[in-house]
Symmetry: C2
DNA sequence: CGAAAGATTATGTACATACCTTTTCGCCGA
DNA sequence: TCGGCGAAAAGGTATGTACATAATCTTTCG
């Protein structure tokens, strides 16, 4: 039996040859109390992906309600006619993506409320502008080397640490859209003093060179000061998106940036992270 | 040899008994041209996690530069003294998290530029307020059932579809912080007409009940209109964060929300997604 | 000399097996 | 009745093995 299932799956997954219609091992078996039809795999892609889709489908279609307990790995394994490891891989991935919660001995449960899993990707401004088919430019407005505490203070860095302070403007088709004020820790990235930033923007330069282990962001809405309004070509008080990002490397701060973008020329947008949703496209 | 390594690892990982000092199979072997020291595992947690940490460490410490090719699975396997599958699991996870890029036959490479992996979680306002230790309240200001196109238009929904339109205000310690204008697709969630929202806020109610498969967001900065300013208790023109979210379920729109939050009373913040960074805490 | 065919290599998936860890549940005795 | 203790259940990790898939390299032949 096992050998037979495996054969049919092998042929079914990799569509070499004229795609034979998917065979569902379970439909042939004895009546399984309603589970038979629902547990059909679609034969597209790797087995563990099919299992993921099948399980996520049950959840999204409401057949497995939030908080409810799933069949255990052994049961799922015989239900879908695959080995326990394959089920385990699929289920573990779904758990990692937030669809399921697993507890030893207790079992696997449909996650209640994924409310905190919405997320918003933050992209490099140059990429965004380029993708919109516009011309991206930037201009360094100011650049100075100094030590922390001399006029500027970077809270998470000890006073006296050498830093590079940059100020620059980003343009889309010639219109200013974003102002950037950046501090770079010269203890971590000493090479930056030799870089002129004639061609490549500081953000790009850093991200291409310095690996980072973590970063934190804060996004706020603020009214443009008179000075910023003049730089960005809007009237004073215009609503602007303010993004603060601090990037860390081996628990040391690498760079601290404040971006300021004109409200009606820039927005953040994105879909939910959960990549299985897009993979599943249900 | 293999049996010996396995034994020592078994004893080393699960610290049953008085934690024996970690043994590094490789340090005993013949000189491996500098690789010996760097490839030490730390003996904490599962093997595949140790491999993840070790590899990520090489990258973050700059020993493996971006774009560089890693040893293949077989080499890593013998380097760390574990099976190829264990290496595969660790490396595949790091690839999934964006540290590495893998191509068949070509090999595994350190990812260049993780710029698009910054992200920002979006939480329920009630959770945020509660976590800050403040008192959360909300008030439904308006509620009506209508059909799409009658005064209000929900772009992604066919005209004539029955919808519920809600307007409500969220308070933190009695101060208004967020205005919410929500549309709910009654074809998908008919039960919502029977809910009074006396106790539980619409967002919470929906998220607890209706599974969603995808959601997209847009965040912008806008100046408060006179009407909104009055509701939120700020002066007209104050900068506000505007969040638009549309949630889908099985490719059908479920709900469309516009949140408007006062700039200096609300912000979005979060760390980078990459969970291995926190796991690694390097 | 160049293109097609074939060999090679590295990753990807699947299964069988074994054993470990955690948590729950029920039994038994105080 | 209650507390503790042990068995059992469910998930977690690791290995060996086998084969599939996709690039890349090499060889051969027109």
């Amino acid at each position: 039996m096992q050998g037979l299932v495996r054969q049919s799956l092998t042929g079914q997954n990799r569509g070499n040859g004229p795609a034979s219609p998917p065979e569902h091992p379970l439909q042939a078996g004895p009546a399984q109390a309603g589970l038979t039809l629902d547990s059909a795999l679609d034969g597209r892609g790797p087995l563990f992906d099919q299992i993921k889709r099948a399980v996520a489908g049950q959840i999204l279609r409401g057949r497995w309600q939030t908080g409810q307990r799933l069949p255990n790995e052994a049961e799922l394994s015989s239900l879908y006619g695959v080995s326990r490891q394959t089920v385990h891989k699929a289920i573990a991935l779904l758990a990692r993506e937030g669809f399921l919660v697993r507890r030893r001995r207790a079992g696997t449960f449909v996650a209640t409320g994924r409310r905190d899993r919405f997320a918003l990707p933050i992209e490099d401004i140059g990429d965004v502008v380029a993708r919109e088919g516009r011309v991206y430019e930037f201009r360094i407005r100011d650049r100075k080397s100094l030590r922390n505490g001399e006029g500027i203070r970077w809270p998470d860095l000890p006073d006296g640490t050498p830093i590079l302070a940059l100020e620059c403007l980003h343009f889309s088709d010639g219109t200013p859209i974003q102002h950037e004020r950046r501090l770079v820790n010269l203890d971590v990235v000493p090479e930056v003093v030799d870089e002129s930033f004639d061609v490549v923007a500081p953000s790009r330069w850093l991200v291409d060179r310095v690996p980072w282990s973590s970063a934190d962001h804060t996004v706020r809405a603020v009214n443009a000061t008179a000075e910023m309004a003049a730089l960005l070509g809007v009237e004073a008080g215009a609503a602007c998106l303010s993004i603060r990002r601090q990037t860390m490397h081996l628990s040391r701060p690498v760079t601290l940036v404040h971006f300021l973008s004109v409200g009606d020329r820039f927005s953040l947008s994105g879909s939910s992270i959960t990549d299985s949703a897009t993979e599943l496209n249900l």
